[in-house]
């Protein structure tokens, strides 16, 4: 099969950038989308043209490095699948496929299809630590956790931090990512000690980075390669309200008065 790709080309962060259309060489339908780009890049290199820069690492849907908005949908046409696990057999011979970088003010395009997702690291850092006893390994099951709670926390922990939720959101909001990362710990007994600070600080880092505001349209969960549910956004909202109310009225220990 052969396709045409309409790709965003941009030399560096400062350049303007624009779309270019390339004809792919003959492709095997069982190639992944990224392998298709590899083949196109080899062809471009042969032609003396700069290859298309795109992010990738594990190529097995677990690292969250690949990105791309393919025909308007982050991570391509399927549900619950990352770009690296999207295969050319999902397209028709002769298709024109539009490939764009994630678009969000906090995710500037560095080159072609590569964006800088550093604000996600800042949000993770703002989340801080979890108080645990170090030393010898704790007894297994010393803290009882119901299956349902453990499963919920695991669902949230499945987030690979790819940023597709931001890319898909009409407002470039990072709520699904932040909600998943906060709820992963907020759901568990081990995460209770720092829960209020975690919620408030992560939301502050998210706002600080310049992401948009959630308007509850759920475009995020529709494209999430890990099918993170927007129930976690509801949970984050609830935790944020509770944390703010508690913090506003709670008396502080004398040492905490700075």
């Amino acid at each position: 099969m052969k396709v045409k790709i309409k790709v965003w080309r941009q030399k560096d962060q400062e350049s303007k950038g624009g779309f270019k259309i390339y004809d792919s060489p003959e492709l095997n339908p069982n190639m992944s989308f990224l392998e298709m780009l590899d083949v196109v890049n080899e062809y471009l290199t042969d032609q003396g043209e700069e290859p298309i820069a795109f992010d990738h690492d594990c190529r097995e849907g677990i690292c969250g490095t690949c990105s791309l908005v393919i025909d308007g949908k982050p991570h391509g046409p399927h549900q619950g699948v990352a770009t690296c696990q999207t295969y050319m057999r999902s397209f028709q011979d002769g298709d024109v496929i539009t490939v764009e970088p994630f678009r969000a003010e906090p995710f500037p395009v560095i080159k072609d299809l590569v964006v800088n997702r550093k604000p996600f690291d800042k949000i993770m850092q703002a989340g801080g630590f979890v108080t645990v006893r170090t030393g010898s390994a704790p007894d297994a099951n010393a803290i009882p956790i119901s299956k349902e709670v453990a499963d919920t926390a695991m669902d949230a922990a499945a987030c690979i931090g790819c940023g597709a939720c931001v890319a898909a959101c009409k407002n470039a909001s990072a709520m699904l990512f932040v909600a998943a990362k906060a709820s992963q710990l907020n759901s568990l007994p081990q995460g209770q000690a720092e829960k209020d600070d975690r919620v408030i600080n992560m939301v502050a880092a998210m706002d600080e980075a310049g992401f948009g505001n959630c308007t509850n349209q759920y475009e995020c969960s529709a494209v999430c390669p890990k099918l993170i549910t927007h129930d976690f956004i509801s949970q984050l909202n609830r935790d944020f309200v509770a944390a703010t109310v508690r913090k506003s009225f709670k008396s502080k220990p004398s040492t905490a008065k700075v």
């Binding site: 003010e105 906090p106 898909a168 009409k170 505001n213 475009e219 609830r238 309200v241």
Partner: protein, 250 residues
């Protein structure tokens, strides 16, 4: 961070304000609708009800002020969020990228703005009556002899104008659209919605919006089609009064 700064300065806080003011406004518009549906009863009914509201005096003003603050906050936050959201995505995608966002959710700002324009007109029309000063002159004598404003006649005369009625119907249509998303959205914004009952919430939101539209559209439509009009006895009485006045002046 205290509650006020959290509400006004954080993304979630602003959404909570949208939701809480939304709850108040939804409560108000449904109460208002139920009150107005009394037009389908005897003129005495709605005129007495309107008189009761007027007689609340300072309490009426307190309620008006509270509603005004809610509308003001709702719009202020809507504009802030709108501005911030635009800033967060300076360049949009070349390809169409709507996956599951409903039409209503994508047009909240436009439906909201037209509802605002309608709100201003509606207040000028029926509350301040600046568009139709003659409404001030319409009076009705209640069963107990109190002379009150004839709200029934005001509505019948007001909605006899086709353009006015059409604008009302269009606006409540857009308000219903606004509600079909807003009613679900507010539960999510304050953290109460989950997938467990989200589907039910969606159905309730749609049924409520349709009912709201039907109830509101019924009023101008019934006036236009003559289903709601002045009872013959009342007309006859009014007629005789004006005739006697005319005779008098001659």
């Amino acid at each position: 961070m205290n509650i006020v700064t959290a509400l006004l300065k954080t993304s979630i806080g602003k959404k909570v304000i949208m939701a809480l003011t939304g709850v108040v406004l939804v409560g108000f518009i449904f109460g208002h609708l139920v009150g107005n549906l009394q037009i389908f009863s005897d003129p005495e009914k709605i005129n007495a009800y309107a008189h009761f509201l007027q007689s609340l005096g300072p309490a009426l003003w307190a309620i008006r002020l509270f509603l005004l603050v809610c509308v003001g906050l709702h719009i202020w936050m809507a504009i802030l969020l709108w501005y911030e959201n635009k800033k967060a995505r300076p360049r949009d995608y070349a390809a169409n990228h709507t996956i599951q966002a409903s039409y209503a959710s994508r047009t909240m700002k436009y439906s909201g703005l037209i509802v605002l324009a309608f709100l201003l007109y509606h207040i000028a029309h029926f509350t301040v009556k600046s568009t139709n000063p003659e409404f001030h002159e319409m009076t009705w004598t209640l069963a107990d002899g109190t002379v009150v404003l004839d709200v029934h006649l005001m509505m019948v005369v007001g909605f006899s104008s086709l353009p006015v009625s059409l604008f009302y119907i269009l606006s409540v249509g857009l308000l219903s659209l606004h509600l079909s998303h807003g009613f679900q959205s507010m539960f999510q914004s304050i953290g109460l919605r989950t997938e467990t009952w989200g589907r039910g919430l969606k159905v309730v939101a749609i049924v409520l919006s349709l009912a709201y539209f039907a109830g509101n559209a019924a009023i101008p439509l019934s006036v236009l089609t003559g289903k709601v009009c002045r009872p013959a006895s009342v007309e006859a009485a009014a007629e005789s009064v004006s005739t006697s006045l005319n005779t008098h002046s001659e």
